[in-house]
């Protein structure tokens, strides 16, 4: 039986920079007033981390846990449930393309292919060599009448077709 062992915690080689300081901490404090429990601020807190750092590391999860009174394992269980939280760094522009049936029958897969080529990412989930792009397929984005919708970070772009891809990609530096 091959066994993978969890790395025994070692003192960090780099100093850990907490996320919840200054303005971010203020934002979290305000969010905490909206709920009767600290735990309920977990999803908003994770969004704050992702906005600040681009992704959520194990160490970030531990910090969120400390701030909200939850164990790191608990936070991790929540992070891994929700697919919009990144657990590793992604390209500067994170592209989500819907390929569920309503968009699928309107050519969504061709849009995916076009994006993978145009961005240089080549493979789903991979980051392009210049670090600018990651492209993934996602499930229904709730814009089925405007096939194919594409999310580039927070930009929700409707009615993307393969011929519009080159122009779309050019818009992002």
């Amino acid at each position: 039986m091959s066994v993978s062992t969890h790395p025994t915690p070692q003192p960090g080689t780099e100093e850990y920079e907490p996320v919840f300081v200054g303005k971010t901490l203020e934002q979290l404090s305000e969010i905490l007033t909206r709920y009767p429990t600290r735990q309920a601020a977990l999803l908003p807190a994770l969004w704050l981390v992702q906005e600040a750092r681009g992704w959520i590391s194990d160490r970030n999860m531990a910090e969120v846990g400390e701030v909200l009174g939850l164990t790191p394992a608990y936070v991790k269980g929540v992070v891994t449930f929700y697919t919009m939280y990144h657990q590793h760094p992604v390209g500067r522009h994170f592209v989500q393309v819907c390929t569920t049936s309503p968009c699928n029958i309107c050519g969504a897969e061709a849009v995916v292919k076009a994006l993978l080529d145009a961005t240089g990412a080549k493979e789903l989930g991979a980051t392009s060599p210049d670090g600018k792009w990651t492209v993934i397929e996602v499930e229904c984005l709730g814009a089925c009448g405007f096939a194919t919708p594409v999310l580039v970070n927070d930009d929700f772009i409707e009615s993307v077709t393969p011929d519009k891809v080159a122009e779309l990609v050019k818009r992002y530096k």
């Binding site: 039986m1 066994v3 062992t5 969890h6 194990d58 164990t71 394992a73 608990y74 269980g77």
Partner: protein, 519 residues
């Protein structure tokens, strides 16, 4: 004020159970075990494995027995074609990604997936070899626990135990859908003092004890009910033995003491029961050396020492010895100026937060309370001092005590320590796994433990040794033949135990009337 009773029928058996009872519990009273995985009486209800599907008349769909409360006039059928088909469906789906590991899996023989599949599963698979099974490597969760994700059926008993009973959510369910597995944060380890229970709770061979890994097959094990000797909580355990060697300790349920759990300290605390360096025959001093002899001569020698002695007798006893033994050891010194004492190794207390009155106790011995009730003192220093000028000193299974005495030293124990070589006589006794007896826990509950393996050589239960000595000395009561008799004699003469009988103790024990907190 009795609970309001509800009348219902399960598989044709009419029942009357308290309101609020779950159908799955009520079924037990009808002699029906509804197959289940995620349900456990010691954990909050999850209702997610869907294994306990039963047919309830007037309900449009199958219901899960673990989350349905009884209702007046309810008619439950666990064996209807619909219910069986539903459960067969669950089993099939559990097996599609489950590896055919039975030949190498520790759980085989005590595996609930095997059991229920045999009982009502599909005879052949419709999945393999057409589709590859999900694969994840084995994970080391910490001190004693291994996690084999491939075998996991995601019942979440382990997650719920750590979250709701241990109150330390160190396990999670990670990911979603059929990618889900039990996860642990990279900075986390499963080192909670009660974490080992997840191995018992796991219905399959997914969470494994490293200590027990590949050690024995479940069907090779003999099982005996016992009481943990790790501390004064008195958790009920089962000792699993294979060919006269204790190989595993598991919790035995006792709702009054430890519910369904034991701590890791107790769980790992069994190797000493198998030690080979035991005294295997009575020894008596002839000249400057100890010589092997038989029990008759040993008793004669000790009795003669005791008859001749006047003055003080001091008994230094171990709080790990049975109540019966402690009683007869005291009887031995009737007529003498007697003082008896014991001392207990102390450690850090480790409660199981989600269960009231359950912890690994600071007092690391099972029978301190029993010793107290029999008049033994905790003032060990005074006893040691008294021993120096005593005419007889009995040292009972305490190998590490440095006793200095001008009088006769009688050592009764399991192992022969260096200093016992000064003794006039050394009498070999059985350890907790090799005899029947009782301990009194910190709450005054008198609990029986049963014999799990045979004692080495000529070693005998300590209560027998002392009661024989008492008989040899001409004590009024005569020979004691069984552990039951031993206890009943004790209960008849000691105030703290009056009214208890051995038969009444059963497997759950009883609180000694004057002794303690009613549980």
């Amino acid at each position: 004020m009795p609970d309001e009773l509800v009348n219902l029928t399960i598989d044709g058996v009419p029942l009357s159970v308290p309101k609020g009872t779950l159908v799955i519990e009520a079924a037990k009273q009808a002699g029906v075990l509804v197959p289940h995985y995620c349900y456990h009486p010691g954990l909050p209800v999850a209702g997610l494995c869907r294994m306990c599907l039963v047919d309830i008349e007037k309900a449009p769909k199958l219901q899960i027995a673990c989350a349905t409360q009884v209702a007046e006039g309810m008619v439950v059928r666990t064996q209807s074609p619909q219910a069986k088909s539903g459960r067969m469906g669950v089993l099939e789906l559990l097996l599609i990604n489950h590896p055919l590991d039975c030949p190498i899996c520790d759980q085989a023989g005590e595996c609930e997936l095997q059991d229920f599949t045999f009982q009502e599963g599909r005879p052949a698979t419709r999945y393999s070899p057409d589709y590859a099974k999900r694969f994840n490597p084995v994970e080391d969760f910490g001190p004693d626990v291994l996690y084999v994700p491939n075998r996991c059926i995601l019942c979440t008993r382990c997650v719920r135990f750590m979250e709701d009973v241990a109150k330390e959510p160190v396990l999670n369910v990670s990911e979603r859908g059929d990618r889900a597995y039990i996860g642990i944060h990279s900075e986390g380890r499963l080192d909670h003092p009660w974490a080992g229970n997840v191995v018992d709770l796991c219905p399959v061979g997914s969470l494994l004890s490293k200590d027990f890994l590949h050690k024995a097959r479940a069907w090779e094990l003999d099982k005996a009910a016992s009481i943990c000797t790790g501390c004064s909580q008195g958790c009920n355990v089962t000792l699993d033995t294979r060919e006269n060697v204790v190989v595993r300790v598991r919790p035995r349920s006792n709702l009054q003491v430890n519910r369904y759990f034991i701590c890791d300290h107790g769980r790992m605390n069994y190797r000493w029961m198998n030690r080979g360096d035991r005294i295997e025959a009575p020894l008596v001093r002839r000249g400057s050396e100890l010589h092997v002899t038989d029990w008759d001569e040993a008793f004669d020698v000790v009795a003669s020492r005791l008859r001749g002695a006047g003055g003080k007798a001091v008994a230094l006893v171990s709080p790990k010895v049975s109540t019966e033994a402690l009683y007869f050891a005291r009887e031995l010194f009737r007529g003498l100026e007697w003082s008896g004492a014991f001392q207990v190794v102390m450690g850090e207390e480790a409660p199981l937060a989600g269960v009231p009155n359950l912890a690994l106790r600071a007092e690391r011995a099972p029978n301190g309370r029993g010793a107290e009730l029999l008049g033994y003192s905790r003032d060990y220093a005074a006893a040691l001092a008294a021993a120096e000028t005593a005419s007889v000193v009995l040292l009972l299974d305490e190998p590490d005590i440095a006793v200095r005495t001008a009088g006769a030293l009688i050592y009764v124990g399991t192992m022969l320590p260096e200093r016992a070589r000064d003794a006039q006589a050394v009498l070999p006794i059985a350890n907790v796994a090799e005899e029947e007896g009782t301990f009194v826990n910190r709450d005054g509950r008198v609990q029986r433990y049963f014999q799990a393996k045979s004692a080495p050589g000529m070693a005998r239960p300590a209560w027998w040794v002392f009661s024989e000595l008492v008989a040899t000395l001409g004590g009024s009561s005569g020979h004691v033949g069984t552990a039951a008799e031993a206890f009943d004699r004790l209960a008849a003469s000691v105030d703290g135990f009056r009214g208890l009988s051995y038969a009444q103790l059963g497997f759950a024990g009883a609180v000694a009337p004057a002794a303690g907190v009613p549980a």
